[in-house]
Symmetry: C5
Subunit: 322 residues, 5 copies
Amino acid sequence: MSVVAAFLYHEGKRLRPVTLIDPACEHIAKDDFVWIGLSQPTETELADIAGNYGLHPLAVEDAGNGHQISKLDVYGDQLCIVARTAHLEGDHIAYGSTAIFLGKSFLITVRQGSARSHSELRAHLEITPELLREGPDYVLHAILDFIVDGYFPIVEAIEEDVLKMEQRMLAAFLTREEVTRIFTLRRELVRFQRVLGPMLEVGRKLVNLQLPRLDEASKPYFRDLLDHMLRVESAITGIRDILISVFEASHLLEQQRQGAITRQLAAWAAILAVPTAIAGIYGMNFENMPELKTQWGYFVILGVIAAVCIGLYIRFKRSHWL
Amino acid sequence: MSVVAAFLYHEGKRLRPVTLIDPACEHIAKDDFVWIGLSQPTETELADIAGNYGLHPLAVEDAGNGHQISKLDVYGDQLCIVARTAHLEGDHIAYGSTAIFLGKSFLITVRQGSARSHSELRAHLEITPELLREGPDYVLHAILDFIVDGYFPIVEAIEEDVLKMEQRMLAAFLTREEVTRIFTLRRELVRFQRVLGPMLEVGRKLVNLQLPRLDEASKPYFRDLLDHMLRVESAITGIRDILISVFEASHLLEQQRQGAITRQLAAWAAILAVPTAIAGIYGMNFENMPELKTQWGYFVILGVIAAVCIGLYIRFKRSHWL
Amino acid sequence: MSVVAAFLYHEGKRLRPVTLIDPACEHIAKDDFVWIGLSQPTETELADIAGNYGLHPLAVEDAGNGHQISKLDVYGDQLCIVARTAHLEGDHIAYGSTAIFLGKSFLITVRQGSARSHSELRAHLEITPELLREGPDYVLHAILDFIVDGYFPIVEAIEEDVLKMEQRMLAAFLTREEVTRIFTLRRELVRFQRVLGPMLEVGRKLVNLQLPRLDEASKPYFRDLLDHMLRVESAITGIRDILISVFEASHLLEQQRQGAITRQLAAWAAILAVPTAIAGIYGMNFENMPELKTQWGYFVILGVIAAVCIGLYIRFKRSHWL
Amino acid sequence: MSVVAAFLYHEGKRLRPVTLIDPACEHIAKDDFVWIGLSQPTETELADIAGNYGLHPLAVEDAGNGHQISKLDVYGDQLCIVARTAHLEGDHIAYGSTAIFLGKSFLITVRQGSARSHSELRAHLEITPELLREGPDYVLHAILDFIVDGYFPIVEAIEEDVLKMEQRMLAAFLTREEVTRIFTLRRELVRFQRVLGPMLEVGRKLVNLQLPRLDEASKPYFRDLLDHMLRVESAITGIRDILISVFEASHLLEQQRQGAITRQLAAWAAILAVPTAIAGIYGMNFENMPELKTQWGYFVILGVIAAVCIGLYIRFKRSHWL
Amino acid sequence: MSVVAAFLYHEGKRLRPVTLIDPACEHIAKDDFVWIGLSQPTETELADIAGNYGLHPLAVEDAGNGHQISKLDVYGDQLCIVARTAHLEGDHIAYGSTAIFLGKSFLITVRQGSARSHSELRAHLEITPELLREGPDYVLHAILDFIVDGYFPIVEAIEEDVLKMEQRMLAAFLTREEVTRIFTLRRELVRFQRVLGPMLEVGRKLVNLQLPRLDEASKPYFRDLLDHMLRVESAITGIRDILISVFEASHLLEQQRQGAITRQLAAWAAILAVPTAIAGIYGMNFENMPELKTQWGYFVILGVIAAVCIGLYIRFKRSHWL
Ligand SMILES: [Mg+2]
Ligand SMILES: [Mg+2]
Ligand SMILES: [Mg+2]
Ligand SMILES: [Mg+2]
Ligand SMILES: [Mg+2]
Ligand SMILES: [Mg+2]
Ligand SMILES: [Mg+2]
Ligand SMILES: [Mg+2]
Ligand SMILES: [Mg+2]
Ligand SMILES: [Mg+2]
Ligand SMILES: [Mg+2]
Ligand SMILES: [Mg+2]
Ligand SMILES: [Mg+2]
Ligand SMILES: [Mg+2]
Ligand SMILES: [Mg+2]
Ligand SMILES: [Mg+2]
Ligand SMILES: [Mg+2]
Ligand SMILES: [Mg+2]
Ligand SMILES: [Mg+2]
Ligand SMILES: [Mg+2]
Ligand SMILES: [Mg+2]
Ligand SMILES: [Mg+2]
Ligand SMILES: [Mg+2]
Ligand SMILES: [Mg+2]
Ligand SMILES: [Mg+2]
Ligand SMILES: [Mg+2]
Ligand SMILES: [Mg+2]
Ligand SMILES: [Mg+2]
Ligand SMILES: [Mg+2]
Ligand SMILES: [Mg+2]
Ligand SMILES: [Mg+2]
């Protein structure tokens, strides 16, 4: 599945399909534009489209690489943006990348390992021609917005997991499995944050720099996009803070628990050592041990043992060792 | 409760009420202005007012979102500011947002989930027309100042809690409940600090940038506003530093306590093991154990046991293990 | 005690006293200037002087607030600087603030909760008219220098305390009281550092910005002032580093000590458990225990016990457990 | 092995060999250039080439130093770049440095302690004259790209090691050898990151500054180079985050394990102390101990001991101490 | 020892000695210059030279202060640089300062508490007149280079110490003395880093700012100087990283060791508690204990005890507790 869709748009409406090597873009009317969507294209397809639309070889190389970090490059009067996409695969976050080429009258997207197709987005834009009429820079915004919208459910899923861990930590002591899970979550978060960093850089460039192919009227849309990215970043930082809290609290609570158990152990050891020590003395085999011959010696000693044990118990209870 | 108040002001005095779709703002005199206050408006109301005053759709979207982070956007010659509001709900901080649109002759506020109405502020300004005469940029300052003033009682409440925890930590050892409470406080603080960050950004823009709709004469007021925000931030950083101190001190004190108890446990175990070991020897049943037959053997052994135990006790006392 | 001193200066010499509402400053010669010193003035006094010298209401508000953080504000052609003062009150640092208004031909200081009066400084300047002749910007420098000089004894007192703690930590183990004291010191330091931050900001503005009322010739003096502030900051950072070292070293040393004691405890427990276990066996009451009837059984067993105990002792000694 | 290769290039093709003191570069055609490769040259060779090509003495000094950190210096209309090279030597990373001089019509490289020769790279460029025709700035890019490409296998080798450690940490407890290995890895990483920092600085200068001898057309290539460096840096940061995770998790897991063992120890100590204490009592030698004479006393006591031990066992089992 | 050397230089060669109050500098030829070296001068000498060469009082004050942090100040067309010097005094680093005044035709150095005299440097420059002919800015570079060169042996000495500590940590457990030594080293390093910070600032100003008295031709020399400073800083950061590693590894290894010992202790306690408990039971004095009367009871019990103990031993051995 290589060419997903390729059409020429006129006044916000789909006019006709185009091919990759269609010399269309040179003869089309001002404000008309071609929007081509590729997914994991072959090297040949990439070379065809690069030749036809005059794409820079280095930009094409980036488009062919599924692990390219997000970036925005200007080549003459063309713009090449690579955006990292993200989606959940079971417990962990999988990443892809989407390269977007924006030229005089074309917009080309190249998706690599990205799970969410742009078909729905294209359909949505085609039924609102007043938006599509804004030109390819509006489509650029729509695609980036689509990618960033894909970050939110991921953040929410992780947040839910983390809050659950926090609840468990406050209610009980963490098991080895839970500690492991928290570390896995933290790694996913740290990695996501590192993926987000260059995306924010791209967003800031779109807002602050004077770039070719972007109308002044599109600036508010890119500001809005940056705002969404910042919201994702703020959420992630929030979750990381909770994770750090969970760890530190867990460390302190475990330390307290260890202390409490040591005190309990010490208290019971002391209580049980008393009868052993005293009884040991009266278990000696000396011939002349006057107490042994008394009528009530045994009962007195039993009483002494009980008294000392109970006394110790009360004292430990009072000092909260027991 | 949607439209809270909507009036036209002339020379600092309330002239007459206006409606959302009143085409008033086009025919009013220079220096006159409309001040409209909305609270959780419906989508229709937002659309009406956006149409009548020419508000940008993206700004209107932000105004409709109660979780928007603080921001300042320029749309042509209009200014749109979103400020996060905060109030205490029981033990934790609840957040809302207030969007403020500032145009040629109007100021519109849209509150979402914010607990404190602007009615009192409006009344206060209406009785001091010399201030209101400064125009909508002065009102903008007054509203932002009102929002920032709302941060102070929150900070003070948390500070009181934290200082109480610090006192308890220095006086005794923290309970599990107290550790948990400290972590909750820290989370609230970290979150508040994250809310405050973008607000400071807005304040800095109001002070440093050349913005439409703001007279030079209003700059000192925004500088003062920024100063108040910085005071809140400084207070929060101070509280966080105390919290960090409480944790680290608690960690070290607990570690010391654990050490002290281990030493005590070791000392008593040694003292009690002595009679057990010695008595064990004289509890053996060998036929030829000369000491057992002596007249004073028992008493000598009792003395030896007492002497060793007391000797150990003194030694442990001297080395501060007991 | 509100108006501390108020005089008109001509060519570096005191000419005559002035009152707060003296319309003097409008008729005085070029290069003449008024220097007024207030301490905790009443609201009326502040209003009088603000009216007479055209001070901005927001600046006057700051001057009336004893907890204002340091700042430098330009109001038209006037300069308003707030500087935090500090002095030791017993064990902790007390803070005040001094607002300084610098106008065309006046310098006004408003002290709030600041312990050190400017009288001595004024006297010192009055006997060196060649300095005072430099004008009010030189006086501004002198006052700020005076305030910053007040920081040094505080830093030195704390440094002494901290170095004492470090000595104790290296020589022995910290007591609970010492840990508590260190935390108090650290809090004072962190707070001082937060007070110093905005002061440095003020210093940097005086050095780097083109500000009204400051001659080019005064720049080296403000650079020197900034330099002194940086020296205070460098000293504080140094002390904090020592404090952090003390904590971490204390943590590690306590952990080592705990380990050493655990090993000692284990060693003695093992040594004492041996006679208990062996003697326990020969304390059993079986009728057929041949060893019990031998002539030297008891002595052999005593020897065995002694041998095992001494053997263990030597082994533990060798592995440095004892 | 000093002069590795030295040729004059014309229209992207090798024309003829040159010597170090060949006065060639003054008479060659525009767009022709000399490419000289030296490896650990003698002082004389460096002096010769410096004299012939007008290299600055400080730049030559840097080229002679194998421990020079990466840098980019402009000397008049010449460019001198030093890049650190890296290769694996067994378990650890070995570093070298390559100095590159770029002048009007020459490119000179001086390798010091760098393991990978440029011969293959030169051969590759010579068979694609359309690239070599771009001039010495293209060759500069190719060499730097070659050096940065050499970083990737190192990062991958370390990443593999670290992931293995992470697996082991999650599956079991780390041995002393593993802890040591992790620290060695971390040191290597931290050092590599410190080597990378100045390289990134060089990359940023090549992209952002207006530098002599670099055509505008070469900018995309240096942007691509910077991008590769950033990818290396991102990978290293990722590995460091994992290492930090491994440490913290290991700390927490070890703490939990310690707690679990303490609880187990306490439980068994309690269970075994019961028969010792009870039996001790009935081992006393009082003459009047009525229980001793009963028919079933012994069996009752055995039952009591068993009951208490089993009861304790169940209770400890339930509270997860055992 | 106050005036170390004071000469007039002409075309790079020493012409004649000068005095501090020699009105020489006004009448000397263009490109001639005076180089005066002072060490711990008296206040009078400083005043003399300040008067004769028009030095700013604030700069002179800095020159008289041995604890001045590094700085670069411009006074009109004069340059005043203070550089911190460092040398080893036994185990710790001692600091001094050298102030350098650079004017139209003079260079004056004032050393305070700095151990290394400039005599050798002056001699070296005087025999290479082609360097000295570059003028006083070249001499400024040479002196700063000399000071920075003095940092390297210090860094190397500390590095050696730290690497030794690392070896010991990996080979065994740290003693209290070693922990203390590491903390001392760390403090020295942190302090050195704080001394280095302002020096780097000076270096960056010399490279980046347009400063009076410095020819364009001297820029590469100051770049080279900055480069050397950065190398020192990089080395220090490297050593600090190792120190941090040593601490953290030591913490983790000690924690592991503590765990291992606790497990060993628990295992032996369990093994020894078995004979005690069993023998205790057969040491009871019940009249009806059938086992006691059997022929082989004693030996059976001895066997049971041995079996349980050996069983436990094997089990503990297998689970690596022993
Ligand atoms: Mg963090
Ligand atoms: Mg954080
Ligand atoms: Mg934190
Ligand atoms: Mg954090
Ligand atoms: Mg952290
Ligand atoms: Mg920790
Ligand atoms: Mg810890
Ligand atoms: Mg802090
Ligand atoms: Mg801190
Ligand atoms: Mg903090
Ligand atoms: Mg902090
Ligand atoms: Mg921290
Ligand atoms: Mg610090
Ligand atoms: Mg520090
Ligand atoms: Mg540190
Ligand atoms: Mg620090
Ligand atoms: Mg800290
Ligand atoms: Mg640290
Ligand atoms: Mg810290
Ligand atoms: Mg720790
Ligand atoms: Mg890190
Ligand atoms: Mg990290
Ligand atoms: Mg982290
Ligand atoms: Mg990190
Ligand atoms: Mg860290
Ligand atoms: Mg550090
Ligand atoms: Mg570091
Ligand atoms: Mg680190
Ligand atoms: Mg570090
Ligand atoms: Mg730590
Ligand atoms: Mg710990």
